[in-house]
């Protein structure tokens, strides 16, 4: 499967980066080329500001450069490791920025979000993206919304309850149900992403 080959290749790249030898820089450049679109897309979605997102993207790859040795292929996938790192850095930056005036930036971000070429790697991602969006579309709207608020806005369950004016217990239940449903749908499609 293309996905498995991709997984193995990413593991090799991360190990090459961790070695910090002659090939390390090339491996880092390749990881960047393979992940820049997805990671930058996540950061732009979180921060709604290209400059901030580019700054964090640089931080993320420098973190990869320094900490690639922390990645353990027995415990997780390169895709999950990289995406989790980027999302976490993005949320940290979002929280450190004093304002969360995202509405104003929203239209600009939409324009900035140049949709990407269909490079070879992105062809795989496009397929995976289709699977995820398909799964999300099967979730009840309020569950999907909770997952988005938590994942891209970095809100906690209490913050979400406050924002939506919903009881905390309801938020907890819906969040869990939404995640369980998503997990089911993705595993039914044999879909975890590498």
């Amino acid at each position: 499967m293309r996905s498995e080959q991709s997984h193995d290749y990413d593991v090799e790249l991360l190990q090459a980066v961790a070695a910090h030898d002659e090939a390390a820089e090339t491996a880092l450049a390749q990881l960047y080329d393979r992940y820049r679109l997805i990671l930058f897309g996540v950061l732009v979605r979180i921060l709604n500001n290209r400059e901030e997102a580019e700054d964090v993207l640089q931080e993320v790859f420098l973190q990869v450069w320094r900490r690639a040795a922390d990645f353990d292929p027995n415990r997780g996938r390169p895709f999950t490791w990289l995406v989790t790192l980027a999302r976490s850095r993005g949320i940290d930056r979002l929280r450190s920025l004093a304002s969360r005036e995202r509405v104003a930036a929203m239209s600009g971000a939409e324009e900035a979000a140049d949709v990407v070429s269909d490079a070879a790697t992105d062809a795989i991602r496009s397929e995976q993206r289709g699977v995820v969006n398909d799964a999300l579309s099967q979730l009840p709207e309020e569950q999907k919304r909770l997952l988005m608020l938590a994942y891209f806005d970095g809100l906690t369950q209490s913050e979400i309850a406050e924002r939506l004016g919903a009881p905390l217990g309801t938020v907890k239940t819906r969040m869990r149900s939404g995640m369980m449903k998503l997990r089911e749908l993705l595993s039914a499609r044999g879909q975890y992403f590498d």
Binding site: R36, I38, F40, R66, G76, V115, Y151, T156, M175, R183
Partner: protein
């Protein structure tokens, strides 16, 4: 909380949506529960898949260059810690004298300086206390002298007043006493009124040896009647208030001898002062 409760928290945990208190208890549980840790990886994959719901965006081309050149710099100089870098720089350049103290050393040197300062302060205080104590002693001694002088002056003044008072009463009489053999320079005046109140004021008397005092005598006929004793001061001045016995008022001779302290019933020494007949 049972195991299932923790499992239910995992989905929110991978979205980093747990509130702080929940997060703490789950972290504690995860450190102890291998099953939950295994399940966590599955949930992390699910959460990461949400990244694909974001539209892919192309970053500016210069971001790649910036990342690669920063990585290259770090590779060439693998000590990004600025403190370590500074030390390394100072070791490379022999002209640079490293001047870095760890926080503890800084506090330790503060401690040493503090100890020295405290010791100096202590010494200064001790010296100051000694000086003050000596000054205090000297002042008290001076005060003793002064008050003794004042007492003496007061007594002298009282005596003088008494002398004048007696002298100013009607019928007062004054007898002059002159120095004799052992006290050629001594003189004295005895003033007394009709009732016998008298004051003797003497000058130029020799110092008295230890255990001795001068004693006034009233000599009536050949019989000496003892009077009171007195001691002169450092310049040989002595005063005495007395009452002259009635029988000695008219025809007595007044004399002063040196007697054992407290006085004698009969003269035991030569006459130092005596009035004319």
């Amino acid at each position: 909380m049972v195991h299932e409760d923790y499992k239910e928290m995992l989905a929110a945990h991978v979205l980093s949506a747990l509130d702080a208190a929940d997060q703490r208890v789950l972290d504690q549980h995860l450190s102890e529960c291998a099953e939950c840790r295994r399940e966590l990886a599955d949930w992390e994959n699910t959460a990461a898949s949400l990244a694909l719901s974001a539209r892919p965006v192309e970053p500016s081309p210069h971001v790649r260059d910036r990342i690669m050149s920063a990585a290259r710099r770090e590779k060439q100089d693998p000590q990004p810690d600025p403190r370590a870098e500074r030390d390394a720089r100072s070791q490379r350049d022999p002209r640079v004298v490293p001047f870095r103290q760890s926080r503890r050393e800084v506090w330790a040197s503060f401690g040493q300086v503090g100890a020295i300062a405290a010791a100096v302060l202590c010494l200064v205080l001790i010296i100051w206390i000694i000086v003050l104590w000596q000054q205090n002693r000297a002042l008290r001694r001076n005060m003793d002298f002064m008050s003794r002088d004042m007492r003496a002056m007061q007594e002298e003044l009282n005596r003088s007043n008494e002398f004048v008072t007696i002298l100013s009463t009607p019928g007062a009489r004054v007898a002059s006493l002159a120095g004799t053999g052992p006290a050629p320079d001594a003189t004295a005046q005895l003033v007394y009124d009709r009732t016998g109140n008298a004051v003797l004021m003497a000058n130029g008397l020799p110092r008295v040896p230890q255990g001795k005092e001068y004693q006034l005598w009233f000599i009536v006929g050949n019989r000496p009647i003892p009077g009171r004793t007195f001691a002169p001061d450092d310049v040989g001045r002595g005063e005495l208030s007395i009452e002259i016995p009635r029988q000695a008022l008219e025809s007595a001779v007044f004399a002063v001898t040196l007697e054992p302290a407290g006085g004698s019933t009969a003269p035991t020494s030569a006459i130092y002062l005596r009035s004319g007949l």
